[in-house]
């Protein structure tokens, strides 16, 4: 088996174990709620989305592969996807109007991950982000943590949308090369 207690629960959930499902909710719902509140910016919608997330977790737990990453990482990916689906379904005029600027500006700074553990993937992504131009790394962070769209990033950084797209795609390739090193 595995020494990751969340992975143990997820593997049991994949077999249809409802007790494990309840334990998984107790163990991870505040982390996933944190993801949803941060990305959606509204508690009520985050609560709706949390229900979508655990519904997806129940039906897709069998797809989790412990060899490919941590169980919590897999759960966060499910939550981020649910949040992004909701953000992209919003009418364009609403995008970007619900952000708390004071809170989000601070989070763009590289220091956010300063408290991060020096382990495996975390270390590598932090190191590799440092190799990218600071404004482009901030765009990657803004997308990952706040769910910002290309349009929102372009407005925020005062560049045309196509420029932002080019920046980000090239940054992703450099990040990938760095992390695969």
């Amino acid at each position: 088996m595995t020494d990751d207690p969340i992975a143990e629960l997820l593997i049991r959930v994949a077999t249809g174990d409802r007790t494990a499902f309840r334990e998984l909710y107790a163990a991870t719902s505040s982390k996933l709620m944190g993801v949803l509140v941060r990305m959606l910016g509204q508690r009520a919608e985050a609560e709706e989305a949390l229900q979508d997330v655990f519904t997806r977790v129940w039906t897709r737990a069998g797809r989790f592969d412990a060899a490919r990453g941590s169980a919590l990482g897999w759960l966060v990916a499910v939550a981020r996807n649910a949040a992004i689906d909701r953000l992209r379904a919003r009418p364009p005029v609403l995008t970007g109007t619900k952000e708390d600027e004071a809170a989000t500006v601070a989070d763009d700074r590289p220091g956010v991950e300063a408290g991060l553990i020096a382990k495996g993937e975390a270390r590598r992504v932090v190191d590799c982000m440092a190799e990218i131009e600071p404004d482009r790394a901030a765009a990657v962070r803004g997308a990952y943590l706040q769910g910002r769209s290309y349009q929102a990033l372009a407005e925020r950084h005062g560049v045309p949308l196509n420029t932002m797209r080019t920046w980000l795609r090239r940054s992703l390739i450099r990040l990938r090369e760095c992390m695969e090193r």
Binding site: S30, A77, A89, V125, L168, R170, L172
Partner: protein, 223 residues
């Protein structure tokens, strides 16, 4: 850093990264999701990006979550419905139940429809109410989606019928209102396997961007 164009391999890797970051718009996302289902190598690159970015997850602080388990379990295991079922709950449940009914209705209604014009691929869908009191015929041809009410009445005064597309397990995306006279609009793509649904919304459409009213008709897209 070079300005050389990305290789096809880099292009795919960047697209997978853009998808995981979430910067793509709804249409692009739907396209990438179709690719994930069809292309295992691409799907593996998406998973790899999720793992690469997981190192940033400490940037998400915890937030206390209310106990939503009763509602989630009701949704999943079909216990007594909560008093205030969200429209998405109902949509999800309806769509599961609608699968079989829609197949039966499709068989019945397909006979009544005129044969498709022999120009280009034509995609059709029949959107029907559970009790068959309301139905719409959808037809996608040459980049235009047309939806016509075939059974039942237009939305009552003060309400609107709103059309949604659901691709895979993504949240519904609004395609706009269906007027009494019908619906005709350009659309980039109508992926096979997507679901079209109609909800009853306040006049002018959902105020939230997601469905807020009951699903009055739904059906799968078929070639």
């Amino acid at each position: 850093m070079t300005d050389a164009p990305l290789t096809p391999f880099q292009d795919d890797a960047a697209l997978a990264g853009e998808y995981v970051l979430g910067v793509l718009d709804a249409t692009e996302r739907a396209r990438v999701e179709a690719r994930i289902k069809a292309d295992p190598a691409f799907a593996a690159e998406v998973t790899a990006w999720e793992t690469r970015f997981a190192g940033m997850n400490d940037g998400f602080a915890e937030a206390p979550a209310p106990d939503l388990l009763p509602r989630i379990e009701a949704r999943l295991f079909g216990r007594a419905s909560p008093a205030r079922a969200g429209s998405l709950d109902r949509l999800a449940r309806f769509l599961i139940g609608a699968g079989l009914a829609a197949a039966v209705l499709l068989a019945a209604i397909v006979v009544l429809r005129p044969p498709p014009a022999p120009v280009g691929p034509v995609i059709t869908a029949t959107l029907a109410a559970e009790d068959a009191s309301l139905a719409f015929a959808a037809r996608y041809e040459g980049g235009t989606l047309t939806v016509t009410r075939t059974i039942g009445a237009a939305a009552p005064a003060g309400r609107s019928h709103e059309l949604w597309i659901i691709v895979g397990e993504a949240a519904p995306v609004s395609l706009g209102l269906i007027e009494a006279a019908g619906y005709t609009r350009p659309l980039d793509a109508l992926p096979e396997g997507a679901v079209l649904a109609v909800t009853l919304e306040p006049a002018g459409g959902s105020p939230t961007g997601g469905p807020t009213g009951p699903v009055v008709a739904a059906g799968p897209v078929a070639l």
